[in-house]
């Protein structure tokens, strides 16, 4: 299979590294390999690159460089936000989150619940939206944190984080948002957010690097102990090449944003129109209040893992929330939370575009998808109404 005919539509899983990002990173492996903590020239160069990257990322968000804390990715950033806040203020014993968060958030919250924390896990409506009024009702004097993601990684639905942030501000409760899929694509209301998790590899940067924005004044205990890097909040030798790559990815995204996002919105609209023509299909998520690059559909009478494998046979990469594709054999908690019937949850398909996605690739998916759905249905025991 040649690269020319391979259609990669799984950009919510990960993205190819942009050329400019790779070019920016390469010198930091071979020529500028210093440890940013070292005193010598190599060390000083690495330190300079690290702080320049931090400054650039902060400027892009309109926040202060000291508020950007580099981590190994968004999973660590989510863990640090939740577990770090809990450790810093043991008097607060209640956490609010939603049923459709990433597992990095949900499982961190569950780890605290196992230690006796009370949790409120908010439901979402059938499109995947949280009602800010639910947050208002759930807030307590001993609420440690509210964690609501900016845009969902499976179905794309955007959350009203501005309104939720306002409510948290009123009650002086820290507000954390996992912005992994939204960062670089949407304007984020940084004045309402206290903590925010970001990952580079979802945005054409390298894997293994991300950051946590921590508003000045929010106290956070480290979860990784060691040499006291990142102002004592995250020990471990800085991944300078990764951090330079992260800053470069943010730069690429910001330069191209308008054009890329407009293109993605167009793709999503086309997909929604074309897939609605397939009998027994449905959109999972929200028609308009959505991340531009994610579209999730379900097809009656077929199973998602085999659908993904059939598309792969045709050189198209996508993903599914089907139970059969998960190591736990449980269907996606997000699809279950929005009330997708189990059979339809088994038959889900997530299509996610990237900056490199072309109109021709969308054409190809639109041409191939109805055929493979039909093929799998031809030997399914369940029949679809026409």
């Amino acid at each position: 299979m040649t690269m020319q005919t391979y259609t990669y539509l799984d950009n919510s899983a990960t993205t190819p590294v942009a050329e400019a990002v790779l070019d920016a990173m390469l010198p930091y492996f071979t020529h500028r390999y210093g440890n940013a903590s070292s005193l010598h020239q190599q060390g000083r160069e690495a330190h300079k690159a690290l702080e320049e990257a931090r400054t650039e990322i902060a400027a892009g968000l309109g926040v202060s460089p000291a508020e950007i804390l580099f981590t190994s990715g968004a999973t660590e950033a989510d863990n640090l936000a939740i577990l770090g806040l809990a450790a810093a203020d043991p008097s607060k014993r209640h956490i609010i989150t939603t049923a459709i968060e990433h597992h990095a958030v949900l499982h961190s919250v569950e780890a605290l619940a196992a230690r006796g924390y009370e949790t409120t896990v908010l439901d979402v409506d059938p499109s995947g939206r949280v009602d800010p009024e639910q947050v208002r009702a759930a807030l307590r004097d001993d609420t440690l944190l509210v964690s609501v993601m900016a845009g969902n990684n499976e179905i794309g639905t955007l959350q009203p984080i501005e309104a939720i942030g306002d409510l948290c501000r009123e009650r002086e409760v820290p507000f954390h948002t996992d912005a992994v899929q939204a960062y670089g694509k949407l304007n984020l209301p940084m004045d309402r957010i206290d903590l925010m998790s970001v990952s580079a590899h979802k945005l054409h940067g390298p894997k293994g690097i991300g950051f946590l924005f921590v508003r000045k004044g929010v106290s956070l205990s480290p979860i990784l102990h060691g040499g006291g890097h990142e102002r004592g909040r995250r020990s471990g030798t800085e991944n300078v090449a990764g951090i330079v790559g992260l800053a470069a990815a943010a730069r690429v995204a910001s330069t191209e944003r308008e054009e890329v996002v407009a293109r993605m919105r167009g793709f999503r609209k086309r997909l929604m129109g074309a897939i609605a023509e397939i009998p027994g299909s449905r959109l999972n998520g929200h028609a308009t209040e959505s991340l531009p690059h994610i579209a999730n559909f379900s097809f009656e009478a077929i199973e998602g893992e085999s659908l993904v494998m059939k598309l792969d046979e045709h050189g198209i990469a996508a993903s599914t929330g089907s139970a059969c594709s998960s190591p736990t054999l449980e269907p996606s908690h997000v699809l279950v939370a929005i009330g997708v019937p189990l059979s339809m949850a088994h038959g889900s398909l997530r299509i996610s575009t990237g900056r490199q996605t072309t109109e021709a690739e969308i054409d190809r998916l639109i041409e191939v998808l109805p055929r493979v759905v039909e093929e799998l249905r031809s030997f399914s025991p369940f029949k679809v109404s026409r």
Binding site: A301, S306, M309, C324, L342, H346, F379, S380, P381
Partner: protein, 161 residues
């Protein structure tokens, strides 16, 4: 994750679809991940008066492994006597596919179960004695199908589904 053999059977599954004329049908579902398989068999007497599965086909809702095991079990059972077919195990199905990922082993159980159920239905219809092993497996499978149907209640109520 999947062997070449699994992918091969998934790409071009053998004996797929519904038989126009069949002697019995085995319907099973796996409650763990929601796979469902219907297996059709046509049984005829051969020259030595033995019951032979002369034709076989299936309809499956499921993952790559479920489809590949459906295809494989149909290959393995075709042309076999009922006694030979009863002796087929899920391990035989998995082995013939060059193995399955551990998390997908239950899919091969589904295929062997469907064959079991089809033979059970055939013998029952014919008022023939049911071998004990076949009857025991049937009881377990029936319990699992009941659990699956409960889980799929919402789906089956949908129009046309």
């Amino acid at each position: 994750m999947y062997t070449e053999k699994v992918i091969e059977h998934f790409r071009e599954p053998h004996n797929r679809g519904k038989l126009e004329e069949y002697s019995a049908i085995g319907k099973v579902g796996n409650i763990v991940c929601g796979d469902v398989m219907w297996l059709y068999i046509k049984v005829d007497e051969d020259a030595d008066h033995r019951d032979v599965i002369t034709d076989i086909s299936w309809e499956t809702f499921g993952c790559t492994a479920a489809i590949a095991t459906s295809s494989m079990v149909s290959d393995l059972a075709k042309g076999k006597t009922l006694d030979e077919a009863i002796a087929l195990t899920n391990q035989d199905v998995a082995n013939e596919l060059g193995g399955l990922p551990p998390v997908k082993m239950h899919c091969s159980a589904l295929a062997a179960d469907a064959l079991n159920e089809a033979i059970y239905e055939y013998l029952t219809k014919q008022n023939r004695p049911i071998p004990e092993a076949l009857a025991k497996r049937h009881e377990r499978i029936a319990r699992e199908v009941a659990a699956l149907e409960k889980r799929y209640e919402a789906f089956s109520k949908k129009d046309g589904a």
